[in-house]
Amino acid sequence: MDTGFLRVLFDPGRFFEERMRGEAGLKIPALIILAYGIVGAVAAALMVNVIIAILPGEAQAYAAFGIAIAVIGALIMGYLMWIACAVILYAISMIFKGEGTFTRTLEFTGYGFLPQFIGSIIGAAFSYQIISNLTIPPMTNIEQIAEVSESLAGIIATDPLMQISGVLSLLFVLWSANILIFGMKYARNLSTRDAALTVGIPTALYAVYILATITGWV
Protein backbone atom coordinates (compact mmCIF):
# COMPACT_ATOMS: atom_id res chain seq x y z
CA MET A 1 0.00 0.00 0.00
CA ASP A 2 1.45 3.30 -1.06
CA THR A 3 0.74 5.83 1.62
CA GLY A 4 3.05 8.50 0.22
CA PHE A 5 5.62 10.15 2.39
CA LEU A 6 3.88 8.89 5.53
CA ARG A 7 5.44 5.51 4.70
CA VAL A 8 8.66 6.95 6.13
CA LEU A 9 7.18 6.54 9.59
CA PHE A 10 6.95 2.75 9.44
CA ASP A 11 9.19 1.71 6.56
CA PRO A 12 11.92 4.30 6.35
CA GLY A 13 14.49 1.96 4.77
CA ARG A 14 12.43 1.21 1.73
CA PHE A 15 11.12 4.78 1.56
CA PHE A 16 14.57 6.35 1.44
CA GLU A 17 15.83 3.66 -0.88
CA GLU A 18 13.10 4.60 -3.34
CA ARG A 19 13.71 8.32 -2.84
CA MET A 20 17.35 7.85 -3.79
CA ARG A 21 16.25 6.82 -7.27
CA GLY A 22 14.92 10.29 -8.00
CA GLU A 23 16.19 13.83 -7.66
CA ALA A 24 16.39 15.43 -4.26
CA GLY A 25 13.26 17.38 -3.53
CA LEU A 26 12.79 19.73 -0.61
CA LYS A 27 9.14 20.59 -1.12
CA ILE A 28 7.61 17.91 1.08
CA PRO A 29 10.25 18.21 3.78
CA ALA A 30 9.74 21.97 3.81
CA LEU A 31 5.99 21.43 4.22
CA ILE A 32 6.65 19.02 7.06
CA ILE A 33 8.83 21.63 8.74
CA LEU A 34 6.19 24.26 8.09
CA ALA A 35 3.55 22.10 9.75
CA TYR A 36 5.93 21.45 12.63
CA GLY A 37 6.57 25.18 12.89
CA ILE A 38 2.86 25.97 12.80
CA VAL A 39 2.18 23.64 15.70
CA GLY A 40 5.06 25.24 17.58
CA ALA A 41 3.69 28.66 16.67
CA VAL A 42 0.25 27.75 18.04
CA ALA A 43 1.80 26.52 21.30
CA ALA A 44 3.91 29.68 21.53
CA ALA A 45 0.86 31.85 20.82
CA LEU A 46 -1.03 30.13 23.62
CA MET A 47 1.77 30.78 26.05
CA VAL A 48 2.23 34.38 24.96
CA ASN A 49 -1.50 34.90 25.26
CA VAL A 50 -1.32 33.80 28.88
CA ILE A 51 1.56 36.15 29.55
CA ILE A 52 -0.22 39.04 27.87
CA ALA A 53 -3.35 38.44 29.94
CA ILE A 54 -1.49 39.26 33.15
CA LEU A 55 0.05 42.45 31.83
CA PRO A 56 -1.39 45.85 32.76
CA GLY A 57 -4.07 47.22 30.44
CA GLU A 58 -1.83 49.58 28.50
CA ALA A 59 0.66 46.79 27.82
CA GLN A 60 -2.06 44.54 26.44
CA ALA A 61 -2.31 46.82 23.40
CA TYR A 62 0.83 45.10 22.23
CA ALA A 63 -0.79 41.66 22.47
CA ALA A 64 -1.17 41.16 18.76
CA PHE A 65 2.39 42.25 18.22
CA GLY A 66 3.63 39.83 20.85
CA ILE A 67 1.68 36.92 19.42
CA ALA A 68 2.91 37.72 15.92
CA ILE A 69 6.49 37.73 17.14
CA ALA A 70 5.94 34.37 18.83
CA VAL A 71 4.36 32.81 15.74
CA ILE A 72 7.01 34.07 13.36
CA GLY A 73 9.72 33.07 15.80
CA ALA A 74 8.35 29.54 16.07
CA LEU A 75 8.13 29.18 12.29
CA ILE A 76 11.64 30.43 11.75
CA MET A 77 12.90 28.27 14.60
CA GLY A 78 11.48 25.18 12.88
CA TYR A 79 13.45 25.85 9.72
CA LEU A 80 16.57 26.77 11.66
CA MET A 81 16.38 23.49 13.55
CA TRP A 82 15.93 21.58 10.31
CA ILE A 83 19.02 23.16 8.78
CA ALA A 84 21.01 22.80 12.01
CA CYS A 85 20.18 19.11 12.29
CA ALA A 86 21.11 18.53 8.66
CA VAL A 87 24.42 20.35 9.12
CA ILE A 88 25.25 18.38 12.26
CA LEU A 89 24.41 15.04 10.67
CA TYR A 90 26.23 15.93 7.49
CA ALA A 91 29.29 16.95 9.49
CA ILE A 92 29.31 13.84 11.67
CA SER A 93 28.80 11.61 8.65
CA MET A 94 31.91 13.12 7.15
CA ILE A 95 33.86 11.41 9.93
CA PHE A 96 32.62 8.10 8.57
CA LYS A 97 33.56 9.16 5.08
CA GLY A 98 29.98 9.70 4.04
CA GLU A 99 29.20 10.45 0.43
CA GLY A 100 26.23 12.38 -0.89
CA THR A 101 25.00 15.88 -1.31
CA PHE A 102 23.94 18.17 1.47
CA THR A 103 20.66 18.69 -0.31
CA ARG A 104 19.87 15.00 0.01
CA THR A 105 20.84 15.10 3.66
CA LEU A 106 18.60 18.14 4.13
CA GLU A 107 15.75 16.38 2.36
CA PHE A 108 15.97 13.22 4.43
CA THR A 109 16.46 15.18 7.65
CA GLY A 110 13.21 16.98 6.87
CA TYR A 111 11.39 13.67 6.62
CA GLY A 112 12.90 12.81 9.95
CA PHE A 113 10.97 15.68 11.51
CA LEU A 114 7.66 13.99 10.78
CA PRO A 115 7.51 12.19 14.19
CA GLN A 116 8.51 15.49 15.81
CA PHE A 117 5.52 17.10 14.15
CA ILE A 118 3.20 14.46 15.67
CA GLY A 119 4.94 14.82 19.00
CA SER A 120 4.62 18.59 18.92
CA ILE A 121 0.84 18.27 18.45
CA ILE A 122 0.60 16.08 21.55
CA GLY A 123 2.98 18.37 23.43
CA ALA A 124 0.90 21.41 22.49
CA ALA A 125 -2.24 19.64 23.73
CA PHE A 126 -0.55 18.86 27.04
CA SER A 127 0.69 22.44 27.35
CA TYR A 128 -2.79 23.76 26.65
CA GLN A 129 -4.16 21.46 29.34
CA ILE A 130 -1.68 22.86 31.85
CA ILE A 131 -2.09 26.50 30.86
CA SER A 132 -5.86 26.38 30.80
CA ASN A 133 -5.85 25.22 34.41
CA LEU A 134 -3.84 28.17 35.61
CA THR A 135 -5.34 31.18 37.28
CA ILE A 136 -3.06 34.12 37.07
CA PRO A 137 -3.62 37.24 39.15
CA PRO A 138 -3.62 40.62 37.41
CA MET A 139 -0.28 42.35 37.61
CA THR A 140 0.35 46.02 38.15
CA ASN A 141 4.09 46.37 38.10
CA ILE A 142 7.11 44.88 36.46
CA GLU A 143 8.30 43.16 39.64
CA GLN A 144 5.07 41.20 39.92
CA ILE A 145 5.28 40.25 36.28
CA ALA A 146 8.74 38.87 36.86
CA GLU A 147 7.57 36.94 39.92
CA VAL A 148 4.59 35.49 38.10
CA SER A 149 6.68 34.52 35.12
CA GLU A 150 9.09 32.76 37.42
CA SER A 151 6.32 30.97 39.29
CA LEU A 152 4.68 30.04 35.99
CA ALA A 153 7.89 28.42 34.88
CA GLY A 154 8.02 26.58 38.19
CA ILE A 155 4.45 25.36 37.91
CA ILE A 156 4.83 24.19 34.34
CA ALA A 157 8.15 22.52 35.04
CA THR A 158 6.79 20.60 38.02
CA ASP A 159 3.47 19.65 36.45
CA PRO A 160 3.23 15.87 35.94
CA LEU A 161 1.63 16.46 32.56
CA MET A 162 4.66 18.39 31.46
CA GLN A 163 6.93 15.62 32.67
CA ILE A 164 4.88 13.08 30.75
CA SER A 165 5.08 15.38 27.75
CA GLY A 166 8.85 15.45 28.14
CA VAL A 167 9.05 11.67 28.15
CA LEU A 168 6.83 11.51 25.08
CA SER A 169 8.95 14.06 23.26
CA LEU A 170 11.92 11.85 23.97
CA LEU A 171 10.10 8.94 22.41
CA PHE A 172 9.34 10.96 19.30
CA VAL A 173 12.98 12.04 19.16
CA LEU A 174 13.94 8.37 19.21
CA TRP A 175 11.45 7.70 16.44
CA SER A 176 12.93 10.56 14.42
CA ALA A 177 16.42 9.24 15.10
CA ASN A 178 15.34 5.82 13.89
CA ILE A 179 14.12 7.35 10.63
CA LEU A 180 17.24 9.43 10.29
CA ILE A 181 19.46 6.36 10.68
CA PHE A 182 17.92 5.02 7.49
CA GLY A 183 17.98 8.48 5.96
CA MET A 184 21.69 8.99 6.60
CA LYS A 185 22.44 5.45 5.50
CA TYR A 186 21.13 6.27 2.03
CA ALA A 187 21.76 10.00 1.86
CA ARG A 188 25.41 9.66 2.84
CA ASN A 189 25.97 6.08 1.69
CA LEU A 190 26.94 4.84 5.14
CA SER A 191 26.84 1.43 6.72
CA THR A 192 24.03 0.86 9.14
CA ARG A 193 26.52 1.01 12.03
CA ASP A 194 28.04 4.33 10.85
CA ALA A 195 24.59 5.78 10.20
CA ALA A 196 23.51 4.74 13.69
CA LEU A 197 26.57 6.43 15.18
CA THR A 198 26.05 9.55 13.08
CA VAL A 199 22.52 9.92 14.33
CA GLY A 200 22.99 8.31 17.73
CA ILE A 201 25.67 10.66 19.08
CA PRO A 202 23.71 13.94 18.79
CA THR A 203 20.50 12.13 19.68
CA ALA A 204 22.04 10.72 22.83
CA LEU A 205 23.27 14.17 23.83
CA TYR A 206 19.83 15.60 23.18
CA ALA A 207 18.17 12.79 25.11
CA VAL A 208 20.47 13.43 28.07
CA TYR A 209 19.50 17.08 27.94
CA ILE A 210 15.78 16.24 27.86
CA LEU A 211 16.11 13.80 30.75
CA ALA A 212 18.06 16.35 32.74
CA THR A 213 15.29 18.87 32.14
CA ILE A 214 12.58 16.46 33.24
CA THR A 215 14.39 15.44 36.38
CA GLY A 216 15.29 19.04 37.20
CA TRP A 217 19.04 18.69 36.91
CA VAL A 218 19.16 21.74 34.70
Binding site: I122, T135, I136, P137, S151, I164
Partner: protein, 377 residues
Amino acid sequence: MKPHNLVVILLICIAAATVTPASAGPADVTVTSSTLDPSVLMKGDVGTLTVEIKNNGADGVAIRSARLYGSGVVGLSDPYPSVGDIGAGTTKTFTFTVRADGGEGTFYPTLVIDFQNDGTLRHPVPILVEDTPLTATIVGKPDAFSEGKRADIAIQVGNPRPNDVSGVQVIPQGTGFTTTPTGAFIGALATDEARTVPFNLTPEGETDVAFTVSWRNGINAHAVDLTLPVTFGEDKRQADLFITNIEVTPEAGRYRILGDVMNAGLEPARSVLITPGSSAIPTDPFRVYVVGTLDPDDAAPFEVTFRTDGNATTIPIIAEYRDDDGNRYVMTAVVDLGGTAAPSAERDEGIPMTGIVVAILIAIGVIGAIFYSWRRK
Protein backbone atom coordinates in the same frame (compact mmCIF):
# COMPACT_ATOMS: atom_id res chain seq x y z
CA MET B 1 -21.33 39.21 195.87
CA LYS B 2 -24.41 41.24 196.23
CA PRO B 3 -27.53 40.06 194.47
CA HIS B 4 -27.86 43.24 192.36
CA ASN B 5 -24.29 42.85 191.07
CA LEU B 6 -25.11 39.40 189.86
CA VAL B 7 -28.13 40.74 187.96
CA VAL B 8 -25.94 43.43 186.29
CA ILE B 9 -23.42 40.84 185.10
CA LEU B 10 -26.22 38.68 183.75
CA LEU B 11 -27.71 41.60 181.81
CA ILE B 12 -24.30 42.44 180.33
CA CYS B 13 -23.89 38.84 179.17
CA ILE B 14 -27.35 38.88 177.65
CA ALA B 15 -26.58 42.13 175.89
CA ALA B 16 -23.28 40.78 174.64
CA ALA B 17 -24.97 37.68 173.38
CA THR B 18 -27.52 39.81 171.55
CA VAL B 19 -24.90 42.06 169.88
CA THR B 20 -22.74 39.15 168.50
CA PRO B 21 -23.76 38.41 164.76
CA ALA B 22 -25.35 35.10 163.89
CA SER B 23 -23.38 34.86 160.42
CA ALA B 24 -20.55 36.58 158.40
CA GLY B 25 -21.43 39.92 156.76
CA PRO B 26 -21.10 41.23 153.07
CA ALA B 27 -17.60 42.34 153.72
CA ASP B 28 -16.45 38.72 153.71
CA VAL B 29 -17.74 38.06 150.20
CA THR B 30 -15.42 39.06 147.36
CA VAL B 31 -15.26 38.57 143.59
CA THR B 32 -12.31 36.35 142.92
CA SER B 33 -12.39 36.09 139.11
CA SER B 34 -14.32 36.90 136.00
CA THR B 35 -13.93 35.40 132.56
CA LEU B 36 -15.48 36.28 129.24
CA ASP B 37 -15.89 33.97 126.28
CA PRO B 38 -14.77 35.20 123.81
CA SER B 39 -12.22 37.15 125.71
CA VAL B 40 -12.66 40.19 123.47
CA LEU B 41 -15.96 41.03 121.90
CA MET B 42 -16.65 42.73 118.63
CA LYS B 43 -19.50 45.14 118.26
CA GLY B 44 -22.76 43.24 118.39
CA ASP B 45 -21.09 40.09 119.66
CA VAL B 46 -22.72 37.97 122.30
CA GLY B 47 -20.48 36.53 124.98
CA THR B 48 -20.65 34.56 128.17
CA LEU B 49 -19.46 36.28 131.34
CA THR B 50 -18.63 34.04 134.27
CA VAL B 51 -18.04 35.65 137.67
CA GLU B 52 -16.83 33.76 140.70
CA ILE B 53 -17.29 34.99 144.24
CA LYS B 54 -15.89 33.60 147.46
CA ASN B 55 -17.01 33.83 151.07
CA ASN B 56 -13.90 34.55 153.04
CA GLY B 57 -15.77 34.66 156.33
CA ALA B 58 -16.05 31.99 159.02
CA ASP B 59 -19.79 31.60 158.60
CA GLY B 60 -22.16 31.30 155.71
CA VAL B 61 -23.71 34.29 154.04
CA ALA B 62 -27.23 34.39 152.72
CA ILE B 63 -27.50 35.94 149.24
CA ARG B 64 -30.82 37.10 148.04
CA SER B 65 -30.09 37.86 144.35
CA ALA B 66 -27.38 38.53 141.79
CA ARG B 67 -27.65 40.59 138.64
CA LEU B 68 -25.56 42.41 136.04
CA TYR B 69 -26.27 45.80 134.68
CA GLY B 70 -24.49 48.49 132.75
CA SER B 71 -24.32 50.24 129.41
CA GLY B 72 -22.26 49.43 126.33
CA VAL B 73 -22.20 45.82 127.28
CA VAL B 74 -25.57 44.68 128.50
CA GLY B 75 -26.70 41.50 130.11
CA LEU B 76 -29.16 39.45 128.11
CA SER B 77 -29.83 36.71 130.59
CA ASP B 78 -32.16 37.01 133.56
CA PRO B 79 -30.73 37.94 136.99
CA TYR B 80 -30.39 35.27 139.63
CA PRO B 81 -33.55 35.96 141.75
CA SER B 82 -32.79 33.58 144.62
CA VAL B 83 -29.29 32.44 145.21
CA GLY B 84 -29.24 31.12 148.78
CA ASP B 85 -26.33 30.75 151.14
CA ILE B 86 -22.68 30.67 150.29
CA GLY B 87 -20.83 28.70 152.85
CA ALA B 88 -17.74 29.81 154.67
CA GLY B 89 -14.69 29.47 152.48
CA THR B 90 -16.64 28.35 149.45
CA THR B 91 -17.08 29.91 146.05
CA LYS B 92 -20.05 30.48 143.84
CA THR B 93 -20.20 31.14 140.13
CA PHE B 94 -22.60 33.36 138.29
CA THR B 95 -22.88 33.20 134.48
CA PHE B 96 -24.38 35.98 132.40
CA THR B 97 -24.96 36.31 128.67
CA VAL B 98 -23.81 39.70 127.55
CA ARG B 99 -23.91 41.61 124.31
CA ALA B 100 -21.72 44.44 123.12
CA ASP B 101 -24.22 47.06 122.11
CA GLY B 102 -21.93 50.04 122.24
CA GLY B 103 -18.84 51.00 120.40
CA GLU B 104 -15.30 49.95 120.90
CA GLY B 105 -13.49 50.30 124.21
CA THR B 106 -13.49 48.83 127.68
CA PHE B 107 -16.85 48.64 129.40
CA TYR B 108 -17.58 47.93 133.02
CA PRO B 109 -20.93 46.29 133.57
CA THR B 110 -21.58 45.97 137.29
CA LEU B 111 -22.26 42.75 139.12
CA VAL B 112 -24.66 43.48 141.98
CA ILE B 113 -25.14 40.91 144.75
CA ASP B 114 -27.85 41.60 147.31
CA PHE B 115 -27.41 39.93 150.66
CA GLN B 116 -30.16 38.74 152.85
CA ASN B 117 -29.15 41.10 155.66
CA ASP B 118 -29.44 44.35 153.79
CA GLY B 119 -25.96 44.29 152.43
CA THR B 120 -25.00 44.69 148.71
CA LEU B 121 -21.87 43.88 146.81
CA ARG B 122 -21.17 45.93 143.63
CA HIS B 123 -18.34 44.83 141.45
CA PRO B 124 -17.53 46.35 137.99
CA VAL B 125 -16.37 43.68 135.51
CA PRO B 126 -14.09 44.99 132.73
CA ILE B 127 -15.06 43.82 129.21
CA LEU B 128 -13.00 44.77 126.15
CA VAL B 129 -14.82 45.42 122.85
CA GLU B 130 -12.61 45.74 119.77
CA ASP B 131 -13.95 45.65 116.27
CA THR B 132 -10.74 44.92 114.38
CA PRO B 133 -11.52 42.21 111.76
CA LEU B 134 -9.20 39.60 110.32
CA THR B 135 -7.08 40.83 107.45
CA ALA B 136 -7.00 39.22 104.01
CA THR B 137 -4.43 40.09 101.41
CA ILE B 138 -3.46 38.76 98.00
CA VAL B 139 0.14 37.71 98.22
CA GLY B 140 0.34 35.93 94.88
CA LYS B 141 -1.28 36.45 91.49
CA PRO B 142 -0.16 36.50 87.85
CA ASP B 143 0.80 39.66 86.05
CA ALA B 144 -2.19 39.25 83.80
CA PHE B 145 -5.12 36.92 83.45
CA SER B 146 -6.06 35.15 80.27
CA GLU B 147 -9.35 33.57 79.36
CA GLY B 148 -9.35 29.91 80.27
CA LYS B 149 -5.80 30.00 81.57
CA ARG B 150 -5.23 28.75 85.07
CA ALA B 151 -3.72 31.32 87.42
CA ASP B 152 -2.12 30.69 90.79
CA ILE B 153 -3.59 32.89 93.52
CA ALA B 154 -2.36 33.05 97.13
CA ILE B 155 -4.46 34.61 99.88
CA GLN B 156 -2.95 35.41 103.26
CA VAL B 157 -5.25 35.66 106.26
CA GLY B 158 -3.93 37.37 109.37
CA ASN B 159 -5.34 37.84 112.86
CA PRO B 160 -4.55 41.30 114.25
CA ARG B 161 -7.17 40.91 116.98
CA PRO B 162 -6.12 40.61 120.64
CA ASN B 163 -7.85 37.25 120.94
CA ASP B 164 -7.84 33.96 119.08
CA VAL B 165 -10.55 33.21 116.56
CA SER B 166 -11.80 29.91 115.22
CA GLY B 167 -13.39 28.40 112.19
CA VAL B 168 -11.49 30.56 109.70
CA GLN B 169 -12.39 29.82 106.08
CA VAL B 170 -11.67 31.43 102.74
CA ILE B 171 -14.35 30.91 100.09
CA PRO B 172 -14.26 32.44 96.60
CA GLN B 173 -17.57 33.98 95.59
CA GLY B 174 -18.83 35.10 92.21
CA THR B 175 -19.50 33.84 88.69
CA GLY B 176 -17.49 33.50 85.56
CA PHE B 177 -14.63 31.54 86.97
CA THR B 178 -13.70 28.27 88.59
CA THR B 179 -11.32 27.70 91.45
CA THR B 180 -9.51 24.77 92.89
CA PRO B 181 -10.07 24.23 95.73
CA THR B 182 -13.55 25.72 95.95
CA GLY B 183 -12.79 26.83 99.49
CA ALA B 184 -10.01 26.66 102.05
CA PHE B 185 -10.38 25.89 105.75
CA ILE B 186 -7.79 27.30 108.09
CA GLY B 187 -9.46 26.62 111.45
CA ALA B 188 -8.21 28.36 114.57
CA LEU B 189 -6.04 31.38 114.11
CA ALA B 190 -4.18 32.66 117.15
CA THR B 191 -3.62 36.33 117.70
CA ASP B 192 -0.93 37.87 115.50
CA GLU B 193 -0.74 34.75 113.39
CA ALA B 194 -1.17 34.48 109.61
CA ARG B 195 -1.83 31.65 107.18
CA THR B 196 -1.57 31.55 103.41
CA VAL B 197 -3.95 29.52 101.27
CA PRO B 198 -3.42 28.83 97.54
CA PHE B 199 -6.09 28.78 94.85
CA ASN B 200 -6.00 27.89 91.18
CA LEU B 201 -8.26 30.34 89.45
CA THR B 202 -9.46 29.80 85.87
CA PRO B 203 -11.47 32.78 84.61
CA GLU B 204 -14.03 32.39 81.83
CA GLY B 205 -14.36 36.11 81.39
CA GLU B 206 -13.44 39.36 83.00
CA THR B 207 -15.03 39.48 86.44
CA ASP B 208 -14.50 40.29 90.10
CA VAL B 209 -13.67 37.43 92.40
CA ALA B 210 -14.65 38.02 96.03
CA PHE B 211 -12.70 35.94 98.50
CA THR B 212 -14.85 35.81 101.63
CA VAL B 213 -12.87 35.25 104.80
CA SER B 214 -15.23 34.05 107.53
CA TRP B 215 -14.47 33.26 111.13
CA ARG B 216 -16.09 32.85 114.52
CA ASN B 217 -15.41 35.00 117.57
CA GLY B 218 -16.89 32.75 120.20
CA ILE B 219 -20.30 31.95 118.85
CA ASN B 220 -20.42 35.03 116.67
CA ALA B 221 -19.84 34.64 112.94
CA HIS B 222 -17.99 37.35 111.07
CA ALA B 223 -16.77 37.75 107.55
CA VAL B 224 -14.73 40.09 105.47
CA ASP B 225 -14.45 40.20 101.65
CA LEU B 226 -11.37 40.58 99.56
CA THR B 227 -12.06 41.47 95.95
CA LEU B 228 -9.72 40.42 93.20
CA PRO B 229 -10.49 42.11 89.88
CA VAL B 230 -9.87 39.74 87.00
CA THR B 231 -9.10 41.69 83.86
CA PHE B 232 -7.53 40.12 80.86
CA GLY B 233 -4.21 41.32 79.64
CA GLU B 234 -1.20 40.10 77.85
CA ASP B 235 0.71 37.55 79.77
CA LYS B 236 4.25 38.81 79.78
CA ARG B 237 5.66 35.32 79.96
CA GLN B 238 3.39 33.43 77.60
CA ALA B 239 4.63 31.79 74.44
CA ASP B 240 4.66 34.17 71.51
CA LEU B 241 4.92 32.55 68.09
CA PHE B 242 6.11 34.20 64.93
CA ILE B 243 6.15 32.80 61.43
CA THR B 244 9.05 33.95 59.31
CA ASN B 245 11.18 32.99 56.36
CA ILE B 246 8.13 32.24 54.25
CA GLU B 247 8.74 30.76 50.86
CA VAL B 248 5.76 30.16 48.58
CA THR B 249 6.31 27.63 45.84
CA PRO B 250 3.55 27.05 43.33
CA GLU B 251 3.46 23.50 42.12
CA ALA B 252 1.26 21.60 39.79
CA GLY B 253 -2.20 21.71 41.27
CA ARG B 254 -1.14 23.17 44.61
CA TYR B 255 1.06 25.52 46.61
CA ARG B 256 3.82 24.55 48.96
CA ILE B 257 4.77 26.95 51.74
CA LEU B 258 8.01 26.53 53.62
CA GLY B 259 8.80 28.65 56.63
CA ASP B 260 10.04 28.84 60.17
CA VAL B 261 7.98 29.18 63.32
CA MET B 262 9.73 30.78 66.27
CA ASN B 263 8.82 31.15 69.92
CA ALA B 264 9.73 34.63 71.12
CA GLY B 265 7.96 34.19 74.46
CA LEU B 266 9.29 33.12 77.81
CA GLU B 267 7.25 29.95 78.18
CA PRO B 268 7.25 26.90 75.93
CA ALA B 269 4.55 26.47 73.33
CA ARG B 270 3.22 22.95 73.35
CA SER B 271 1.54 20.91 70.63
CA VAL B 272 2.33 23.46 67.93
CA LEU B 273 0.40 22.76 64.71
CA ILE B 274 0.72 24.65 61.46
CA THR B 275 -2.20 24.56 59.03
CA PRO B 276 -3.31 26.64 56.06
CA GLY B 277 -6.38 28.67 56.97
CA SER B 278 -9.63 29.50 55.25
CA SER B 279 -9.73 29.89 51.46
CA ALA B 280 -7.03 27.25 51.28
CA ILE B 281 -7.78 23.59 50.77
CA PRO B 282 -5.12 21.53 52.54
CA THR B 283 -3.70 18.78 50.38
CA ASP B 284 -1.31 15.92 50.87
CA PRO B 285 1.45 15.46 51.78
CA PHE B 286 1.43 18.28 54.36
CA ARG B 287 -2.18 19.08 55.18
CA VAL B 288 -0.99 19.91 58.67
CA TYR B 289 2.50 20.14 60.07
CA VAL B 290 3.05 19.07 63.66
CA VAL B 291 5.94 20.98 65.18
CA GLY B 292 5.40 19.72 68.72
CA THR B 293 6.88 21.60 71.63
CA LEU B 294 8.67 24.82 70.87
CA ASP B 295 10.82 26.10 73.71
CA PRO B 296 11.49 29.80 74.26
CA ASP B 297 13.91 31.30 71.73
CA ASP B 298 13.62 28.14 69.68
CA ALA B 299 12.63 27.83 66.03
CA ALA B 300 11.44 24.99 63.86
CA PRO B 301 10.85 24.66 60.12
CA PHE B 302 7.43 23.77 58.78
CA GLU B 303 5.90 22.86 55.48
CA VAL B 304 2.29 22.90 54.33
CA THR B 305 0.68 22.11 51.00
CA PHE B 306 -2.71 23.34 49.84
CA ARG B 307 -4.82 24.34 46.90
CA THR B 308 -6.86 27.49 46.40
CA ASP B 309 -9.94 28.41 44.46
CA GLY B 310 -7.76 30.35 42.10
CA ASN B 311 -8.86 33.80 43.24
CA ALA B 312 -7.02 33.92 46.54
CA THR B 313 -4.18 36.39 46.71
CA THR B 314 -3.45 35.84 50.40
CA ILE B 315 -3.61 32.78 52.59
CA PRO B 316 -3.71 32.70 56.38
CA ILE B 317 -1.23 30.35 57.94
CA ILE B 318 -2.49 29.30 61.37
CA ALA B 319 -0.24 28.28 64.22
CA GLU B 320 -2.11 26.56 67.03
CA TYR B 321 -0.41 25.87 70.32
CA ARG B 322 -1.15 25.19 73.95
CA ASP B 323 0.31 26.30 77.23
CA ASP B 324 1.30 24.04 80.10
CA ASP B 325 -2.31 23.96 81.31
CA GLY B 326 -3.64 22.85 77.95
CA ASN B 327 -5.19 26.18 77.06
CA ARG B 328 -5.35 26.62 73.30
CA TYR B 329 -3.98 29.66 71.51
CA VAL B 330 -4.06 30.59 67.86
CA MET B 331 -1.70 32.79 65.92
CA THR B 332 -2.35 33.70 62.31
CA ALA B 333 0.11 34.97 59.74
CA VAL B 334 -1.09 36.14 56.36
CA VAL B 335 1.00 35.00 53.45
CA ASP B 336 0.82 36.90 50.20
CA LEU B 337 0.28 34.80 47.09
CA GLY B 338 -0.15 37.85 44.86
CA GLY B 339 3.15 37.43 43.13
CA THR B 340 2.62 33.85 42.12
CA ALA B 341 0.51 32.17 39.54
CA ALA B 342 -2.21 30.01 41.01
CA PRO B 343 -2.41 26.36 40.15
CA SER B 344 -5.99 25.38 39.61
CA ALA B 345 -7.83 23.67 42.43
CA GLU B 346 -9.95 21.80 39.94
CA ARG B 347 -7.18 19.62 38.67
CA ASP B 348 -6.74 16.35 40.46
CA GLU B 349 -3.71 16.07 42.64
CA GLY B 350 -0.77 13.88 41.75
CA ILE B 351 -0.08 12.11 38.49
CA PRO B 352 -2.94 12.48 35.94
CA MET B 353 -3.96 8.96 35.00
CA THR B 354 -5.36 10.01 31.64
CA GLY B 355 -2.03 11.49 30.67
CA ILE B 356 -0.24 8.32 31.70
CA VAL B 357 -2.59 6.12 29.68
CA VAL B 358 -2.16 8.35 26.62
CA ALA B 359 1.61 8.32 27.10
CA ILE B 360 1.69 4.52 27.37
CA LEU B 361 -0.38 4.12 24.21
CA ILE B 362 1.83 6.52 22.30
CA ALA B 363 4.95 4.81 23.61
CA ILE B 364 3.62 1.44 22.44
CA GLY B 365 2.86 2.95 19.04
CA VAL B 366 6.29 4.56 18.65
CA ILE B 367 8.17 1.47 19.80
CA GLY B 368 6.02 -0.62 17.49
CA ALA B 369 6.80 1.70 14.57
CA ILE B 370 10.54 1.52 15.28
CA PHE B 371 10.41 -2.26 15.63
CA TYR B 372 8.37 -2.57 12.45
CA SER B 373 10.79 -0.38 10.50
CA TRP B 374 13.70 -2.70 11.34
CA ARG B 375 11.76 -5.80 10.44
CA ARG B 376 10.97 -4.35 7.03
CA LYS B 377 14.59 -3.46 6.34
